[in-house]
Structures are given as structure tokens and as C-alpha cells.
């Protein structure tokens, strides 16, 4: 069976490394091109020794060079501000290329919202409207029909899966408070003060309080799903673990609504969303595409908890899920890995 070749840009970053790991086991796809500006020309296995044995013949190429192999699709695991330029260049060479972009460049449709979030311009602003927002469980049909997907941010994924079912029913109103704790891999592969081990190992702290760039994409998706009259407040926190995002979403819902039943029904057919009777736990979802979720209630107060892997469902595995969809494959292909406990 020949596996379809895909190209991976930004392959040496954390998102790229995860995609290489996952796709090494994909039954239908294979990474035929991997780019890295810093490591161009070096064998993948020399730069990423954890992958030794799986990419014996692959070397990083420069992102500026034409694709060494014709690929049907491209994964852009490149930073904000880089993806949109690569996208323009790639499409010029091959207008039929299918694309999943993991950056924030094409997530926000509204130009003002984009500018407020990223403080930057983007080329091809008109292209953004043609990108399907890649929150698979809430936007599957549009993704399936699209050629280009803007893969959601990690915080956004945890928040949308927590709140989407209420938004779809018009039950999302008033103050919605999000406290979301991320692992250190969310800061990327380059060392920085916030990820300096001696200071992070047993610490907890917040950052970009009420000002994180993922908040507007959550609002945009919830509005698209039918919500109105709500006010989001996102508090991102940095936790002393390497992978995972835990979301606490708090809001009020009319006491007459059976929220637990609503979620149970809504997610009953979703393989990658698992309802828990007690709090989900990060350790059960790390290195998987699963989102574990629980509902808690006291009168009108509702708390929804979600646990995902920031590099998994919050990034690389959801990108593969979306890539599967736009290529017409089984959405679960390559993603059938259960979690571990310890």
C-alpha cells in the first residue's frame, strides 16, 4: 500500500516533532518533505534522535526550496507571521495544494480582530475567509469540504470543546470565565526565562491575563455556533508539567437545562471526546488526540472541565485529524493511540 506523501514545514519545532512522531505510524500518509530553516541539509534523525529508526532517508530541506517531492498536502507547523508567507509562496507554485496551517495566521476571519490579537498585518487577508476553522468536533462539515484548514490554538481547543455544546443550543450567555493551565512545551523548542527548569519545576503563575491571543478565536467559533450575549474572560496559567492543557470553564445556565445530558448526547458519537463522571486528568490524554471532559453543577452554576494534550489535540493530532478529513480519509487514521496512566 503506498502512503500519500505530505510535506511538513517547521518540522524541527515541537509541533513539527510531534507530527513526525505521529505520521511515522500513519497507515495512509507519509512525510516526504520536512523543512527546517536552522537544520536544512541535516538528516532528520541526527537532529531529532528520538526518531532514530523511523526516518532513515529523510533530511531537512530549506523552507525556501521547492518541494523535493510532489505532495498532495502541506502541514505548516511554522510560527505566526511565517505561515502566511509560506502559504502564499506554496499556492503560487501549486494552486491545488491542500493545507493545514497550525499557526494563528488564518484563524481569525475579521481583520480588526486579527490585528488586535497579533498586532500585525498578514498577506492574503482575503484567504482567511476560505480557511475552515479546524475545531474538528464543532466544524467537521466545513473542514471536510475545505481545502485549507486553520488549526485551532491549544487553549482555544480546550475552551471550545468545553463550551461548544452550550453555544450550539444558544445557552451560552453572560460571563464565561476560563482558567486554563498549560504545560511548558506550549512555549516552543527554544529556551526562554519562562521555561527555565529551576524556576518552572515547582512553580505556577499566570500570564497575558484577559489578554491572550487565543481568546478571540474562541469567541469567533462560539458565535459561529450560535452564541451571543456572552463575555469571555481567559486566564492562562503556566504549570510545572511539560504537556497538557487543563481548562476550567465557569458560567451560569438556567437550572432547568439538563447540562450533563446535553453533553452526553452531543458527544456520544465523538470518538475523541470522552465524558467523565469525575474530573478529567491530564495524564490520561497526553500523547493522544482525546479530550476528556466533565460537567459539574450547583444550582445555575456550571463548571465544565476539559483535559487535552497541548501538543496533541491542541496541536499536532488535531492537525492530522483535519488533514485526514480534507484528504477524504478516515478521520481517526493514525490517531488510534490510547493514553497511558503513569
Amino acid at each position: 500500500m503506498t502512503r500519500t506523501p505530505v510535506a511538513l514545514y517547521g518540522a524541527a519545532g515541537y509541533g513539527g516533532q510531534e507530527l513526525l512522531r505521529i505520521l511515522s505510524n500513519h497507515p495512509l500518509l507519509r512525510v516526504a518533505v520536512a523543512t527546517s530553516q536552522r537544520h536544512a541539509g541535516r538528516p532528520v534523525e541526527a537532529v531529532l534522535p528520538q526518531l532514530e529508526g523511523f526516518y532513515p532517508d529523510l533530511a531537512f530541506q530549506s523552507p525556501r526550496a521547492p518541494l523535493a517531492v510532489r505532495c498532495e498536502a502541506v502541514l505548516l507547523a511554522t510560527p505566526h507571521g511565517v505561515s502566511h508567507k509560506l502559504f502564499a509562496a506554496l499556492l503560487e507554485r501549486d494552486p491545488d495544494l491542500k493545507v493545514v496551517d497550525l499557526s494563528g495566521d488564518f484563524r481569525l476571519h475579521d481583520e480588526a480582530r486579527f490585528h488586535a490579537a497579533y498586532g500585525a498585518e498578514r498577506s492574503l487577508p482575503s484567504a482567511a475567509a476560505k480557511f475552515a476553522y479546524g475545531s474538528t468536533e464543532t466544524n467537521r462539515e466545513a473542514i471536510h469540504a475545505a481545502r485549507w484548514v486553520a488549526n485551532p490554538g491549544c487553549f482555544a481547543t480546550g475552551a471550545i470543546l468545553a463550551l461548544g455544546p452550550l453555544a450550539e443550543r444558544g445557552l451560552l450567555q453572560g460571563d464565561v470565565t476560563l482558567a486554563q493551565t498549560t504545560g511548558s512545551s506550549g512555549s516552543g523548542a527554544d529556551p526562554k526565562p519562562a521555561t527555565h527548569h529551576p524556576e518552572r519545576a515547582q512553580d505556577l503563575r499566570a500570564y497575558k491575563v484577559l489578554a491572550h491571543q487565543h481568546e478571540p478565536e474562541v469567541a469567533q467559533e462560539l458565535e459561529r455556533l450560535g452564541a451571543g450575549g456572552f463575555d469571555l474572560g481567559m486566564v492562562p496559567l503556566s504549570g510545572p508539567f511539560s504537556r497538557g492543557i487543563f481548562t476550567v470553564a465557569s458560567l451560569r445556565v438556567d437550572a432547568a437545562v439538563d447540562v450533563a445530558a446535553l453533553y452526553r448526547e452531543r458527544y456520544s458519537g465523538e470518538f475523541f471526546v470522552r465524558l467523565r463522571s469525575e474530573s478529567p486528568a491530564l495524564r490520561h490524554v497526553v500523547r493522544t488526540n482525546f479530550c476528556d471532559l466533565s460537567i459539574h453543577r450547583r444550582g445555575e452554576r456550571v463548571v465544565v472541565l476539559t483535559a487535552i494534550d497541548n501538543l496533541g489535540k491542541g496541536m499536532a493530532t488535531q492537525a492530522v485529524q483535519n488533514l485526514n478529513l480534507i484528504l477524504g480519509l478516515d478521520e481517526r487514521a493514525g490517531l488510534l493511540a490510547p493514553g497511558a496512566n503513569p
Copy 2:
């Protein structure tokens, strides 16, 4: 200079161990009696080797035996349900005894509230009214005048210091949401599934969502300070670190109020509360009595963040602070230790 003898009950638990550590350096107090049911008769340094060199002549005595040395004050670092019985027995022997109780037995004045939180009866319910609630910075005068202090819960301390200034001004209204993440030492010295290292080391999860027993004592104290018409919703989380509680408090405050200025003024004379321009960090307060705090705002939305050590300001150091007060000592005696960074 003779140091005043005090007795410490439950000295082999985590609260007790911290008290032994702190009091070993107290310039005015010394632990003359340390009890432990499990270790009665054994030298303190044999059971707690980290203290070797500091208690060469002290052995644990049984909590049931009369105090081997006459003590002016007693610290009860004993579990809920145990403290109130010890209290009754101790007072019978010595009605003048001063007491700081670290358990939840005497924190709630209202019997119904107590029963709802702890699902139990207590002896001497009438005594609860005579206990000053030991939130030092919000209730100092009452503590100073009291003989008995009910030391606050760890979550409660982080929450009250975050919300007290608003409550005092009558600005605490509507929904108040608390997401509070605790270190594993909060579960005590006995191993249990929730503190099993292989499963906790890189995990995050919630527990007792909207149902934690510290919530009512926060409400009680905020009401006492002047708040009304608010609804607390506490979400406790278990973090993969050993010490610390990080609190995210979210609420709405009239946009005309200068919240930051209010906190700055309110805490300007409080040595143990430090205002930060950015998020506080657990690592800076661990093993100290400090509460670091920051204020964040977007329109009416206000987020207050606090960081304390669950075993420090959330337990043992605040108990010493209160003990100092009821003994007429400088409140800071024995507590002048700065934090560390790594």
C-alpha cells in the same frame, strides 16, 4: 533569653513538621511538648530526620498524656474531628490555655454551615463563637484580643486575601469564581491514590468542584467584612508540585473603581502581602508567610491572583503569626524568612 514554651499537637503531620521547622528558629518561643499518637515515645529527630540537630532532647509524647511541661499556649495541628476533642480535654486541665487550632473544627460559627461542610457534629459548639478566625490581615484586632484562634484553611487564605479588600468596601457582588490549584502536600503525610507520584508527577485535575469545605469559611469571612449579594464558586485543583496554592479570583467591579489603587492602599502596611505588577509565582512564596498578589482588569472584569505556600501562609506560618498575636509578641517574630527563586 528564655523562650516561652508551647505545646504542639499532631507534630508528625505535615503541618506539625512545618511548625517544628519554623519554631526551631523562633526567637521567643520554643516547642516544649510535641505529641504524636503514632510515634509516642520516639525521639523527634529519629522520626523526622530533616530536623536532626534542632531537637536533640525532645521525644514525642502521647496526645492523651498531660503536658509534660507547663505551656502557655498550644498549637493543634491535628485533623478535623480530632482538634475539638483535644481542645475540650486541654481546657479542662488548664482553662487559661491559649490555643491556635489548625483544623476546621472551630472555623465556622454557624452550626448548620459547619454540619454542611464537615458532615459531623462537634463537641463544644458554643466554643466556636469564642474563636477568632485567624485570617490575620483581615481580622487582626479580633485575633489580638482573643485567646483562641481558628486558623484558616489553605484555600480560604488564598481566597480571602484576594477578595477581602473588595469585601471591606462593599464592592464584592455577583458571581465570584475561584480556580485554586494546590500542591500535593495539602493531602497530608499519608500516601493515597491522589498523591501517588507516578500519577501526580505531570498531572492536573480537579476535585470537590463547587463542593469544597473551605468555601463556606471564605463566604463567612467575606460577609463579616461587609460583603453581601455575592455567590462564590470554588474549583479546587490538584497540581504536580509539592507546596503552594495559586488562586485565580474572577469577578466584576464597577469600572469607575480604581481596584489596583484600592489594593495598594489596603495592603501598604501589610508586611506579608506583596503587590506585584505581574502575576505572582509560587516559587517566590514557598516556605514563607508571604502572599504575593496581582490585579488584572479589562473593563468591569477583574482578576485577582494570589500565591501562597499551602503549608506556610496557608497553614503553619500563619498559625505562628496568630500565636505571636495572642501572646502579645511581634507578629513577625520567627517569620522573617524571604523566599527563594530556584
Copy 3:
């Protein structure tokens, strides 16, 4: 394609959980029976929520009941002292059963050595001689020819892969010192003081110094490979991580021997042993069957470092590797997962 049914005893322990995880993705085998004394009768996914979606129809059965489905092979992920009894009972029912035992019950051929290591008797001592010792890379032919395999201990695996190539050439002599640090999952699924998170999270300490029960099986295997006149000294350490064993092996080798070349040649055909030019790292091998290894030299002094996953190559994945061999399958089936970096 029908997958061959196998039975898994002790399926709710950490070794069992890993085997369930790995075998869920095995292309040729499936777990048809999973036993757990504590959880008999309960659905696997209810007890082990990280596996939800992968074992919808499997419930734990009692280890005492006959196999609900006829299985060609059995994995015994049961504790020392339990496996040998189960083995006897299982063989009585089905003398053709193939068995991989993960306990220490059948690793040591010499009865005195067994007694010294485990302080216990075992039934069927004569059976031990018929068990192939499951150090796959050093004993593959015997395993391939065997029906029963005694899967090595986790420390033993890290040590044998470090020292085997020297033993095979008769170069292992004199003092051989092992300092081996294990993750907390090596202590199993039941909470105990040594795995209490508040005390383990940032700690390091040794245990069973020069007295660990895995030492004799290392000696036995190295002797079998040709070593003589050496003295092993194993120092096991408990590290503050959940998974992995890092081995430092120190010894002297004649300066004329090109040790690096010897290892390079010896392991060139071994997919699961990867030679590194710098120190291996636990993070690259966790959740895999890989052993990463490096050689360091100064004059006659040689240091060999190995990194494995204590639950992977040190336990569950090596058991699957051995199971594949005794069933005549490709040894790598189900084990082709690369490591991750963060």
C-alpha cells in the same frame, strides 16, 4: 485479518496497563482475556479510563477462573510469588500454553540464588530451567526456541544491554559498578511512602544498596554470555520522574580494546538499541522499546550509559517483543513507536 488471542494476567497493575495500551495497537495480537483480582467483573474501561475507546467489550475476569476464551499465549504481569502459582495452574489446564512471565519467579535458574534474592520458595523449581531468560538482544535464539520466557527485571535490562557486549567477548572483569536510577512507576500501582508525591517530587535517594534482587539475574546472564572473574555492585536509586531507568556502568577494559567499535558492531543490527555519541536521555525512550546507549572512555576506565523505559523495554514492551518471538511473529510487531522529545 484475525488477531491471535492472548490472555493477560495482572492486567490492572502498571505492567498490565502498559500491555493493554501496547497490544491495543498490535497488528497481530489482541487481548482476549484480562484478569484482575481486585476488579474482577468490572469493565476494563471503567477501571482504566485512559483506555476508553479501545476495549469496549472487555471486562476483567478473576485470575482463578478458567480462560473465558482459548488463548495461545499468556502474559503474566503478576507479582513475584504469584506468577509461579498461576503458571502451574495454567499449564495443568493447557500444557501447550506459551507463557511470558514478567515476575522474578523464573528468572534465576539456581535455587540458592533464587532463595537469596527473593527469600522464598517457588513451586515447580524444575520449570525454571525451561524458561528462556528474556533479554531479547542477548538471548534471542533461546527465546525463539522456547515456549516459556522469564522477562527480565527493569534494572537488569538496563545493565545487561550495557555490559553484554563486553561479556560476550570475555572482556568483563574485575569490579563492575552500577548506579541505576528508576522512575516511581517501578514501585507499582499501589501508593506507598516511597512514592508519596510531596516527598518524591524533587527528591533523590538510594535503596537496597548492594542488595537488590535484580543483581543476581544480571550476573547470571553475563556469566552465560561468557563473563567470569567480575564482581557486580548495584546501587539502585529512586528518581523524581515517573518512567525510565538510567544506568551508569563503570569498569576497566584493556586500553587496547576499541570498546566503541565493539558496541557499534555488536548492536548494528539491533533495531531497538541505538548508539549515541553523547549521553542517552530518558525522555527519548519513554513509552518505547528502545535502549539508547553511549560509551565513554579515559584510559582503561570505561563508562557505559543506557536509558530505557522501566515500563517499556524494562517490562511491557520487551515482554511483547519476547511474545512475538515465541509466537513466530516479527519481533518488532506492535512496537514501532518512536519516542517523543518533550
Copy 4:
């Protein structure tokens, strides 16, 4: 009581931060000058918020400026290669200055050994001979008589305390193998790949195997104590914790020697060395000046284990201990802090 002013160079590094923390509580000394090249001119508490409340009036000065306050002694917590230049400049201004240097610049007396270890020249090589090597417990008299002290390296401290008693008796011979695991704070305050949290959080790896620059100073001190005919082999490891060094020292000693009794006697008067019947544990010594130690034996094989805080006894607290000695103070002044358990 007036506290003697001392100057602290490199005060914003990890060693400097620890010294500021410890000296804030020193009964007889106070930091009157703190230098930082990067932060010159900024208030100490603005740069190091964990110290807020303890240095309200101190600002960093440039290391190049003359001391703003006359100081009797200087602590150089500056990097290798910087200290020796500062020393020369300081001595020129004030030839009577007492100095404790925490770098490696003056530890090695032999110029060839220095060059081999640090690959560099140093100014004032002749000065090195006048520095007392600051291994307090093995070299107290020389330190007491000295004006200048070269504070030992962190690995060296753990190793010398493990082996010194044997060296003093001429019992240290043959191969001596050291496996020493350090916390991440040993790499200093600047982020680097080896301390990037996502990759260090659950990792273990070695570095500079048989080639660490602390090895020669261990050899030098052991030789000075009387050892000869031994060969040291040091394997440094990077552990996933922020503070601490755990040392495993392995060697052979004539079976007739009662090694445990020898250590018990040798260290009986040493307050900061505590003999344990079981393995020491890092968590008991972190943030202290203690070295906990245990002896293990099987025939001639001897294993000595030590646990210290790399930033404490391995750096800042030992520097204060030495500073006390050269200033004629009680060696324990400012260091009477017990360890904690969780």
C-alpha cells in the same frame, strides 16, 4: 548590635541570590554592597522579587565601581574567569580585604591542573597558593587561618565529604567511582537547552563523563588529606529537580576496617554532617548547609552516599560558613536552618 558589612559580587546569579537570602537572616553580617553588571542601578527588590521586604534600601552597583561602603570581606559569586580579575582589582584597592571566591579560579594550586580543567589562563596564579580550599569539614584550620578562601565546587563538596574520612586514614586506594546527580539550578540563572523545562522535567542524562572540571579539585583535596594510589572517575548527571546533588561513591576497603565506625567517629563533632542508617534524601537537605551521609558495605565493597544542596552546602551556605571562619565568627552563624520534608 551592628552587623559587619560585606560585599557580594555577582549578586543576581543563583549563588548570589542564595547568599542574599541567607545573609538577610545572618545575626552578625549584612550585605552592604551587591553588584550586578546586568542590573546595575536597579533596586535589588525590583530584580529579585522573592526578596521584597528584606533589602528595601539596596540597589545593585556595577562590579567596576569602587565599593560604595567599606566592607571587611567580599564574596565573589561570579563565574570562572571573572573572579580572578575582580580579585586582583579589589586587592589593589584594599590589600586587607578578606575574600571568599565561589568560582573555580583559585581552587587548583597546580597550574597545569588548572589549565587542564578550565582551558584558560588566570591572572595572579601565585595567589592560588594563598587561598585555603574551602572544604570546611576537612580543611577547617587552614580556612580559619586564611584571609582568602576558594569555595569548593558543588560536585566536589559532595565527593569530598563522602571520601575524606577514608583519605585521612590512608584507606582510599584503587578505583573510586563517583556517580553524581545534580539539580538544574547548577546550570545557573540563564536559560539554556539543558535546562529547558519541557525536556528536563522528566529526564535524566549524563554530561562531561570522566571529564568534569570538579574532578581535579576532589583529587587535590583527597591527596592533601593523605590519599595516594587511587583513581577517580566522576560521572555527572543532570536530574529533573531544581536543587540538590546526590553522590554515589563506590570503592574497595579492606574488610577488616569498620568503615561505619570510622565515619561515625570522624563526623561526630560535625554539626553539618549527619550520618544516616539508610540512604540520605535530597529533600531533607535542600536550602540547608547539611550533608546527610550513609555507608553501605558488602565484603570489601563500600558505597558512601551523600546528599547536599548544590546551592547550599555545595555553594552559598558553605561560603557563609567559610566567611564566618575567616571573620572569626561562630561557623554556624546564620546557618541554623533545619531542612523540610515535603
